[in-house]
């Protein structure tokens, strides 16, 4: 018996699904670089506002519209505020909104989709009709309507965004649940007298994690874009707090100072691309065909 074979026979367990997925993901160089980039950026968004000598909100009219240089890395805006600090504090808010909204989307989407898919029959039919109906409402108008009705607040702006975005998630999860519903292990649990709720939580949802992770990586950049679009409409984050959307919106009204547009736009674009690459890598890693 060769040593390699005996090695295999001796080893008590093989690589699990998650370990394999992790190895596949880490071999995807573009995805790994993107992931590191996102983590680095998130770290900077937390740290920079503390470390910088400038405050994001304090105006300094003597130094308004300074071009990028050693004093202000990204230049300064019309009120003399440092754009470098503002970009990162804006990034922090943007990430916060995006992740909070994604969390809401995951929670509602997974529960709704798995219940509809698992219950089947008329419950499923009714639940999916509701999704179809909500699909018929153009999301931008609906968010503006919500923000008109309830006034502007940070929390509301992400609830509005999340309330519309869980629909796709619910559909994806339902589809996956339908394919799981009649698998042997679910039927076995059923036969053993496990209740519907227990089956959904113990057996269905854990098996959805792969799909959900891949999908969540797509939801985060969508949330970033949606919240940025809303701030373009003057809804969402309010001055002096800022977000990438608000910074880009300000920059596009102040074109003669190119840095006001360029730096936030670059930050947001690179983040969105990084998320797209990470999502790509995750799909390849978790859904090997």
């Amino acid at each position: 018996m060769s040593s390699a074979v005996s090695e295999v026979l001796k080893s008590p367990k093989t690589n699990g699904f998650w370990q394999g997925a992790f190895i596949r993901f880490s071999h995807n160089r573009l995805s790994m670089v993107s992931l590191v980039f996102i983590l680095l950026l998130a770290f900077l968004c937390i740290v920079v506002p503390f470390l910088s000598s400038y405050n994001y909100a304090t105006p300094d009219f003597a130094n308004s519209l300074v071009s990028p240089g050693m004093t202000h890395f990204f230049g300064s805006d019309g009120l003399g505020r440092d754009l470098f600090v503002r970009s990162f504090i804006g990034g922090r808010i943007t990430f916060e909104i995006a992740f909070a909204a994604t969390l809401v989307v995951l929670l509602i989407g997974v529960l709704y989709g798995s219940i509809a898919g698992f219950m089947g029959g008329y419950i499923d039919a009714i639940m999916m009709r509701v999704v179809d109906i909500l699909y018929g409402i153009p999301f931008l108008f609906f968010s503006i309507l919500l923000l008109t009705l309830f006034g502007q607040s940070l929390i509301l702006s992400f609830v509005a965004v999340a309330a519309i975005s869980w629909l796709d998630m619910a559909r994806v999860v339902r589809g996956q649940t339908l394919s799981l519903r009649h698998k042997e292990f679910v039927e076995a649990a059923h036969v053993c007298g496990v209740g519907n709720w227990q089956i959904i939580i113990r057996h269905i949802i854990p098996n959805l994690i792969g799909v959900v992770i891949v999908y969540a990586a797509l939801v985060v950049p969508n949330m970033i874009v949606l919240s940025a679009v809303l701030s373009f409409f003057g809804l969402g984050v309010m001055e002096p707090m800022t977000s990438w959307g608000l910074l880009i919106s300000d920059g596009s009204q102040n074109m003669n100072s190119w840095w006001l547009l360029l730096f936030p736009a670059l930050l947001m674009t690179s983040t969105l691309l990084a998320f797209a690459f990470v999502a790509n890598g995750l799909r390849d890693a978790l859904d090997p065909r």
């Binding site: 018929g136 409402i137 309507l145 874009v225 596009s252």
Partner: protein, 310 residues
Amino acid sequence: MINFIIKRLLIAIPTMFSIVLLVFLLVHATPGNPFDSEKALSPEVMKQLLHQYHLDLPLWKQFFLYVNDLLHGNLGVSYKFIGQSINSLIFPDNMGGFWVTLRLASYSMVITVPLGIVIGCYSGLNRNSWFDRIIVASNMIFSAIPTIVTGPLMVLIFAVTMGVLPASGWGDGGFQNLCLPVLALTLAYLPTVTVVTRGSIIDVLNSNFIRTARSKGLPTSKIIFKHAIRPTLIPVLSLLGPMFAGVLVGAIVTEQVFALPGLGILTTNGATNRDYNLVLGITIFGSFLMIIFNFLVDIVYFFLDPKIKQ
């Protein structure tokens, strides 16, 4: 055929009704009324105002009146633009409102769809060529970047730095004013059409009936134009329904970026003035457009895809 249309209508009408009910209840369930935010009105004036807009009636009566108006194609009156109906705000006599949005959306659809199909087909037919690689890479990049970034960046490049095109505004609605907005909107949706077409034609070329056609010795051009095109287009077509919704919303974002006087500005005006009826009307109008368009796509689908007919 008739059965199919009736079946589709039976789905579309309750959907529309539910949307109206949902949005209407949402608006009217919120505390306060549209005149609260203004400077304090005397009780008599407030009562008069509420009466004039039927806001003192029970909710179900208001809903009944609203639906009745809707069935007559009337979206109600604006609370803030005094004496104007919402219809006249959405469809003004001169250029503006929906007409701007429609023009923007249709110009860019007219460019996006054929261009995306041609690029996607060419790219899929020459798989792994340098052209295909460039297309796949740029699709990836451009589908990640939203209009609110590409739009201002294009203004920065073409209008501010090079000075060849106007930065914003409708002007006379000519080529120069529309060039950048249409381009921005096209860039946002071209990747989707291209990716779907490319994937679709690759699938079709691998299918058995194409292999049969090849083995019979048909020339490539005949295989593509006689056999491959139709099944290739089916997934692209099913994309057009949701895409129209996307383009409608995208056009509104583009209007905001380029300061065009379309539905977007109207909605924002409604929102900042807390003109519920206006935002309500626009939302319902938007939903109506989406449902109509999905309905039309379903019918075209019926003609293209023989599987549905069975």
